[in-house]
Amino acid sequence: MAQSAAVATPPPKGKASKRRSATPRRLPYLLIAPAGLLMLGFIAYPVISVFYYSLQNYNVTKPWRNGFAGFDNFIKIFTEDELFWPSLGFSAQWVIVQVTLQLALGLALALIVNQTFIGRGISRAMVFSPWAVSGVLTSTIWILLYNSSTGFSRYLADAGIGEYGTSVLSDTGTVFWAATVAELWRGVPFFAILILADLQSVSKELYEAASVDGAGRMRQFFHITLPHLRDAIILATLLRGVWEFNNVDLLYTLTGGGPAGETTTLPLYVANTGIEGHDFGYASALTTVAFVILLFCSIVYLRLSKFGGDNK
């Protein structure tokens, strides 16, 4: 990747600008107008309103208290709120475990299905298929599997492995890993697909040359494959991290944040505060804090990983 970028010549600019002057100047603006207006109205404006609401007392059930609150909401988050730090901690644990395991398994899976073998097409379709499945559907499936009276554990117990017991979802000791396995089931294909897409563009000549030089498969992997995948992995990890942080579908329906708040992530806490508690002001303040944390972590991550650095 780096080599070819260095060899490539810049596009012939002069010719392009001559052609451009012949086209109507307004056309590109007209073309991006629908997307731009939709994003201004339904992304930019809501983001600004979140910041605005975060400085307000805004509770549908207590309208008499509504009004400007300054930084009261934020002070409350950091001083009084007993659920904020645990939910943030659980979010961090959730993101780190998910992203690490999804990356490891997804990379392995991509390397396997990138080989040529009989049944490759159908195997790809099958191992990637959970990606098409929603969080709620994943919950549905794993609720059936985890069910204590008719689920998988009952059949294992019947076969003499383990014992009859309560559902792994209602036990504080097992709920984290139960939810983790369910999310991995549908999350691994995402990494596998992105990495596989990037694997398609590794030059086979590099492997050929490495073989001739006597490099084994492990060395080829660490010196050719991994460096090639570097940017894709950094990007996929970041997108997935943000997504795993933000997404609430699975945990909302699988555990509802329980038992005993054990699986309440920060966004789930926000959703509960806003939707069920109707406290929009406080939920917005929590959102703002979550957004700032996410932004900060993303920037630090991009800095540390030196994303795209060697290509500029």
Binding site: G36, Y53, N311
Partner: protein, 305 residues
């Protein structure tokens, strides 16, 4: 970040967007070449793949089993089968209505996303304009803004537009959150179509629009199918927008319907499984059909190094 990748791709194949060099080798040819260097022992492929396949397929099988097994049965083979759970969910639990709503939302989101992203993607791929950089930046930043955390202001907006309880609100929200990635992907596809093809059509007297429609659009078909299906699958699956913006039961979509089954006091596992099968079938079919294009789509559109 994706910007860097897209730019890089440009730099790597400078000719393709300006039309003065040979097109890059197609992925099909590359696949054939791979075979020569394929010396991994078979068991190292089939053993881990087999284990992973079990992990992937057992949950699907489990759902299917519960959906067709008569109530009270503990059999692990789906025989004798019963359609009782399906007819119950479909008729009594309103899944017929949910299915129709989800289809409407999915198809509308697919059409809206594809059209808007096609226009935006064409602008990014073929023009240089003043706010191009800012527009790209906005697309990328929006990836970091969580849909879940925007629920409150979006709810307010749709309330003011009097669109609460209308499927339109969900279509708009889904489209907006699909757009950034779709635009980036589509502009990647368009960059892969040599501009010389369009220029040739202009010389022949075609308008820009006609040249696009007759020359570029047919070549974009695989990419558009990937982006469109992606939008469909996402909106079919997405839960929170529908949960928040649609409070009347006959306006709900399938994920919300599933959630009410989960939340029922005594969970009817057979009904839940049947609902799950109904939710899974359309997207899994769409996905099996497009997964090949999705892989090439991602490698052409966003993550190609």
């Amino acid at each position: 970040m994706t910007a860097a990748l897209v730019e890089k791709k440009d730099a790597r194949t400078p000719g393709t967007s300006r039309g003065n060099s040979t097109p890059p080798p197609s992925s099909h040819r590359r696949t054939k070449r791979e075979r020569a260097f394929d010396d991994v022992p078979r068991w190292q492929i089939y053993l881990p793949l087999g284990i992973y396949l079990l992990f992937t397929l057992i949950p699907f099988y489990w759902m299917f089993l519960f959906a067709v097994r008569p109530a009270g049965s503990t059999s692990l083979v789906p025989w004798p089968m019963t359609g009782a759970h399906f007819s119950k969910v479909w008729n009594e639990r309103s899944f017929a209505v949910f299915f129709q709503n989800s289809m409407l939302v999915g198809v509308a989101t697919l059409i809206a996303t594809t059209l808007v992203a096609l226009a935006g993607g064409y602008a990014l791929a073929r023009f240089n304009f003043k706010i191009k950089g800012a527009f790209m930046l906005a697309l990328l930043c929006s990836q970091f803004i969580p849909g879940a955390l925007m629920l409150v202001p979006l709810f307010e907006i749709f309330k003011n537009l009097q669109m609460i309880n209308s499927l339109g609100s969900v279509v708009i929200a889904e489209t907006v959150f699909q757009l950034p990635l779709s635009i980036i992907l589509i502009s990647g596809f368009i960059k892969n179509v040599p501009i010389s093809l369009e220029e040739a059509a202009w010389v022949d007297g075609c308008s820009r629009f006609k040249a696009f429609r007759t020359v570029v659009l047919p070549l974009l078909r695989p990419g558009l199918i990937a982006v469109g299906s992606f939008a469909f699958v996402h909106s079919w699956n997405h839960f929170l927008f529908a949960l928040m913006f649609l409070s009347e039961q006959d306006k709900q979509t399938i994920p919300v319907g599933l959630n009410t089954l989960i939340g029922a006091d005594s969970v009817d596992l057979g009904a839940l499984a049947a609902g799950g099968v109904i939710a899974a079938v359309p997207v899994v079919i769409v996905f099996a059909f497009i997964q090949k294009w999705l892989i090439t789509g991602f490698s052409a559109g966003a993550v190609k190094g």
